[in-house]
């Protein structure tokens, strides 16, 4: 499988200014040295708690946020070095589906205009051709064509998300960053949207970077899954491996929290103590050691940062104790 997206040592630090003269008082390390790659036609799931930096990664890849350092290669091109016109041109190939379908559609534009906008910007086709394409797209995502003259507030959350998907697909992108596309929707609607994304992937050969905080949603959707904690990837493995044989204590804790739809089955919850530390001043050594059931009292965890190593068959993990456990 050839690599479509290759992210190397991506960092995004947000400066925190304080005091009268806006001195930079520190940095929120939202994304701290993250590397991964996504193959053509693959779906990479990116999971983690709120505030762990997964959305920031998505926006950095689209360069909606400028990364602090690192490089992002897309089909061999370095996105970081693109000039503005080149960047705008490349944006055809990378699109994003946002989390909140209530915020991601311009309330003053009709559905038709929203979906058509990308085509207009890139000068695709004539007016009539564009209209036909919009009608096509609307059918593909399961909307009625008559909806094109209506405004976003007339639609439900699920329908709005379909509009968002149609907009993202209008330009035939190669990569779609799905930024928690279903977490704002009802469970029944979630399944519909997930299935739609699946069908579209098969039909158009799309590559997804699927960001979510729900492991069970990601499980059915991803080929590989990356687990993030506090700006770093803790574990990265093929989906089946990650769910059947997780190596990192954090992944195990997350998995133990997924409800199992079997009555009377007692699962052992691994409860993590405390809260996620502030990314303004992440713990030294392993970032997870303050809450880790394994390495809480281990000196090595407190003092040295574990290497992100491969444990065979594309299973990567950053933990000192991953072999033993």
């Amino acid at each position: 499988m050839s690599i479509l997206l290759d992210v190397q040592h991506l960092k995004k630090y947000f400066p925190v200014r304080k005091g009268l003269f806006s001195r930079i008082g520190g940095f929120v390390k939202a994304v701290d040295d993250v590397s991964f790659s996504v193959g053509r036609g693959e779906t990479l799931g990116l999971v983690g708690e709120s505030g762990c930096g997964k959305t920031t990664i998505g926006r950095c890849i689209l360069r909606l946020i400028e990364p602090s350092s690192g490089s992002i290669f897309f089909s061999g091109k370095d996105l970081m070095s693109l000039s503005n016109p080149d960047l705008r041109h490349t944006r055809r190939d990378i699109q994003i589906i946002f989390q909140d379908p209530y915020a991601s559609l311009n309330p003053r534009m009709t559905i038709g205009a929203i979906i058509e906008e990308g085509l207009v910007i890139h000068g695709v086709g004539r007016r009539a051709e564009r209209k036909a394409r919009v009608a096509d797209l609307m059918r593909q995502v399961g909307l009625q064509e008559s909806a094109s003259r209506r405004f976003p507030h007339e639609f439900s959350g699920g329908q709005r998300q379909r509009i968002g998907i149609a907009r993202a697909l209008a330009l035939n992108p190669k990569l779609v960053v799905c930024d928690e596309p279903v977490s704002a929707l009802d469970v029944s609607v979630q399944a519909q949207v997930i299935n739609l994304l699946h069908e579209l992937q098969d039909e158009f050969g799309l590559t997804y970077l699927f960001i979510a905080h729900d492991l069970s949603v990601v499980r059915h959707f991803s080929d590989r899954v990356a687990v993030m904690y506090l700006g770093k990837i803790m574990e990265l493995a093929p989906a089946s491996k990650l769910y059947s044989a997780p190596l990192h204590p954090y992944t195990r804790a997350l998995l133990s929290a997924v409800p199992v739809p079997v009555p009377n089955r007692k699962t052992k919850r691994i409860l993590l103590e405390g809260d996620v530390p502030t990314p303004l001043d992440p713990p030294a050594g392993c970032r997870f050691h303050t809450r880790c059931p394994v390495g809480k009292n281990e000196l090595i965890c407190r003092e040295s940062e574990p290497e992100f190593r491969e444990y065979g068959q594309g299973h990567f993990c950053a933990c000192h104790f991953s072999v033993i456990s």
Binding site: E117, G164, R167, L171
Partner: protein
């Protein structure tokens, strides 16, 4: 639009404001066709042969006449044209400048924002009255035209500040981000995504700006720095009636009332619009 009307109808004050403003606009547009007297026609009989002073309100002159025998009703009706013109034209100037600067500052940020914010603060700190007086005193023939300009050049700061704030928030909305992701340029984003979503605060500040302009025009004219005689400007009419205040109250009272009601009407409409358009205040 339908939604807007629904929201406005909920508030009695807003409806009152809308009613007053509508009547005012109708008066300015159609009123002159129903008048019997030319607002400039001087009654020589009254001035020279029978110097009894202004005529009191009667069937003939419902609001009386001034000291030159000019019908006050006619002058007030024509005065509504003057005040509307000043209010709306100055508002247009102020809105154009304010929206442009506020948009640039909010959208691009950085040093441009710094400079524009600094300009806005300066415009705020500068006593507007003083500037108006200075300009009107300097120009060779102070006229209503200069008032448009002065008021427009004073009034933009408030609008710029409101627009900048709104742009700062709309810029971060996901629909703006998605337009960027589609590859939209700055101008497209500003015109299609940001401006339409800033319309609510712009409309509110523009309406309230009109009220302010009318009031400022009135007192500038009252001080003799605005409209010049024999223009039927309400502020000027109050000045002319000043000398007769104790004995012939109507010369001051009616133009004064006209100013008060008009300004009140625009302000009520502005507040009503704010309530109708601001989702945070909805259903409270």
């Amino acid at each position: 639009m339908k939604q807007l009307w629904k929201e406005i109808r909920k508030s009695k004050l807003a409806v009152t404001g809308l009613l007053v403003v509508s009547i005012l606009i109708l008066t300015a547009a159609l009123g002159p066709f129903f008048l019997h007297y030319d607002p400039y026609a001087i009654d020589l009989d009254l001035v020279i042969r029978h110097p009894y002073g202004p005529k009191s309100p009667s069937v003939d002159h419902p609001l009386g006449t001034d000291d030159l025998g000019r019908d006050l009703l006619s002058r007030i009706v024509y005065g509504s044209r003057v005040s509307l013109q000043v209010g709306i034209l100055a508002m247009l100037i102020a809105t154009c400048i304010g929206v442009t600067l506020g948009m640039l500052a909010g959208y691009f940020g950085g040093w441009l924002d710094l400079i524009i914010t600094w300009l806005t603060d300066t415009a705020f700190a500068f006593p507007a009255a003083l500037l108006a007086i200075a300009v009107m005193a300097i120009v060779p023939n102070p006229d209503i035209f200069w008032i448009f300009l002065v008021l427009g050049l004073i009034g933009w700061a408030g609008i710029a500040r409101v627009v900048r704030g709104k742009v700062l928030s709309v810029k971060e909305e996901e629909y703006t981000q998605s337009a960027r992701a589609l590859g939209a340029g700055h101008i497209r984003i500003m015109i299609y995504h940001i401006l339409p979503n800033c319309m609510a605060p712009i409309m509110v500040s523009a309406t309230i700006n009109i009220a302010g302009n009318i009031l400022t025009e009135a007192w500038l004219s009252f001080l003799g720095l605005g409209a010049q005689p024999p223009t039927p400007s309400w502020g000027l009419m109050v000045t002319e009636g000043q000398a007769y205040l104790a004995t012939h109250y109507w010369m001051c009272l009616f133009p004064g009332l006209a100013i008060a009601i008009t300004v009140l009407g625009w302000n009520l409409l502005g507040d009503g619009l704010r309530d109708a358009l601001d989702p945070r205040l909805k259903d409270v």
